[in-house]
Symmetry: C2
Subunit: 448 residues, 2 copies
Amino acid sequence: MGKTDWKAKAKALKKAVRRLQGPKSGAPAAPTPAKATTPVSPLAPAAFPDLPQIAGVEFAAAAAGVRYAGRTDVMLVRLAPGTSVAGAFTRSSTRAACIRDCQEKLAAKVPAGSGAAIIVNSGNSNAFTGAAGQSAVRAITDAVAAALDLPASRVFSSSTGVIGEPLPFGRITGKIPDLVANLSGGGMAGAARAIMTTDTFPKGAAATVTGEGGEIRIAGIAKGSGMIAPDMATMLVYIFTDAQIAPPLLQKMLSRQIGDTFNAITVDSDTSTSDALILAATGKSRAAEITARSPAAKPFEAALRSVMMDLAHQVIRDGEGATKFVEIRVTGAISPQDAHRVAMAVANSPLVKTAIAGQDPNWGRIVAAVGKSGAEADRDRLSIRFGDILVAEKGWRNPAYREEDGAAYMLLQDLVIGIDLGLGKASRTVWTCDLTHRYIDINADYRS
Amino acid sequence: MGKTDWKAKAKALKKAVRRLQGPKSGAPAAPTPAKATTPVSPLAPAAFPDLPQIAGVEFAAAAAGVRYAGRTDVMLVRLAPGTSVAGAFTRSSTRAACIRDCQEKLAAKVPAGSGAAIIVNSGNSNAFTGAAGQSAVRAITDAVAAALDLPASRVFSSSTGVIGEPLPFGRITGKIPDLVANLSGGGMAGAARAIMTTDTFPKGAAATVTGEGGEIRIAGIAKGSGMIAPDMATMLVYIFTDAQIAPPLLQKMLSRQIGDTFNAITVDSDTSTSDALILAATGKSRAAEITARSPAAKPFEAALRSVMMDLAHQVIRDGEGATKFVEIRVTGAISPQDAHRVAMAVANSPLVKTAIAGQDPNWGRIVAAVGKSGAEADRDRLSIRFGDILVAEKGWRNPAYREEDGAAYMLLQDLVIGIDLGLGKASRTVWTCDLTHRYIDINADYRS
């Protein structure tokens, strides 16, 4: 297979070793300087939204140097006594220690009387770190519990970043006094920045609902850019509301809305070991308690859904290397499972995603992706649309379709690909982005 | 979302339209000049192998200008009377007209007395071309049947290339007289070139077995580079042998060996609409007929497997943009299905593949891919190896593992990633390649 170029190999080796700066004696690596800023995604919103303060929620961020120096990388959230907490988490069988800890604590259903807290770090995911990983979670959540006078069972933690490296948790616990001192109701934007990894912009969204006797506010933040194919959960997402609502109903609404929002997005088909969504309701609004039957229940759930959808779409708009925001609408499937299978086969097809990156209306690759999905499909009933343009139907290209029209459509930044299977009534919409050189740039180098 | 740069858009539009050169009136587009040659894959074998002639098989190639001018793009194979034919085909629900035609003809079990033929074109896959696609298959196979005095039911065809464009079949049928005139037992290498699309090298493999009373030869050719994730079949592969063997046994051996060879490779997780493998046995060897119980049956099947494996590996070595040939060995799974699921989740993970492209021993991404696979896995029993290097076990990095060793290993061209789930006895080995900038280059432009 050709001669080995040893000189080139040696050079690459040297570079690789230099990059690794491997911890040699078990001591955590010193923080490296934060990388040169990646250009902001062309799909980013014009500005971070003006998030309302949520009564009963305070934020603080700090630079702990978990992995990178010169940036904030820890956020702390304090939640007032009486706060209901709900959550959704990755189903990865290799999920991180903090995910397991959150799941156990939520399952224990500790009364909300005492308040609660969330602590999150970026730079290290504490995933696949064995028993030491569990100890690190305990050390961090115990320290927060002590500092805020809370039971440890009400302190939730998340970690995001490199997998398999020991978490230098002392750097985090060392910052807790500062974090506690700086807690403020207006700190949500700073918190959104502290949890970023390869994200090119911080993500926030908000909504307001009129309840019985007062306004109810919802505001949330998220991080996510790569390793995005949530499975019953999402990236890191924290949503806060001042609604009064019991934990079981809050959880029910969250679980109901996650399928069409965070579980309907994919950047690269890779599900993270650290996906987590925590939803906290402080009950500080003047509006009456929301119960399953109260008139505000539906509007509140709709507003919650809108915040979730907005954040989920922002994650796709910050997909690693993304230049196109793509909606895949599948209709006419014989079952919701089949509709999902087709939508995800198209959304995750490297050939479809590279065609979109090349602004090529290559609908043949969409046909191939439908064909490989395993879902029931009939070539002669299938139809494909770019936006409103009918591209193909009845087993062939629509005679009225002109490739110039498809080519012009592909130049848009936001695309809608419609796929009707013509077999049944089930449908599914998912969102994805294109696959570009920048994805390779980011991931052939970044340690995640 | 920022201001629109209309000038840039207009430019891109102009370029896209120019590229498309869309057929406007239903007439097939004129052939465009063949593209500048892509550099040969760094993983390519040093040279095309010296394939033996197979008695009873003749080849011819021609330049029909199906899509590109200045290159051969049609091959014809004539098989002697008495040839047994077996096949394996894509299970895509949107498979091409020629695939359906081959499947029907093989199912009809026409006696082999009359001989047979195979005609293949590159440049256009005749997939998703409706009733016109079926007519094109009929026109081509009927013309070959007439020219070679064969029943049409013994003429098999394949097409590979762009999906959804009408196949200009007249260009192919117009070349049949030339093809017939040029048939020769020594034309296999030329045939291997004629079926290439984005391939950077032609693929061939051969083996010889000692039968009872004489030698048995096997030789085959393949094409494949992208849209590679075969599902019960493969790219285009044609394997010939002079063995005497009845069609049912030939088919049985083929079906038995396809799982571990062509169905164990993936370049990009995209299954083609045109995958086909045709295996023909002319019976011209002096060796006695192979039956299920004859002593030559096992050696023959082993030799057939070796040719299939060699060709399957060559397809990966020519994977679009590949710089690494990667074997994924999964052991310790509770079922073969789980082992396959884990192996393919790792082999198709864009994050694993980009890490390999970057020569980064990023085993955390392997853990994440195992976790997302849906297979049963236990973090604390999982172990991961790079070649012989034990990287991680018991839920954490092996304390003796040094990242420098992993980094040095990743510089090799051929890599073996070992994943032991520690749960059962099932195993699965699959092959893949890395995901590089060249994959994006090739696929953001090429129409397939």
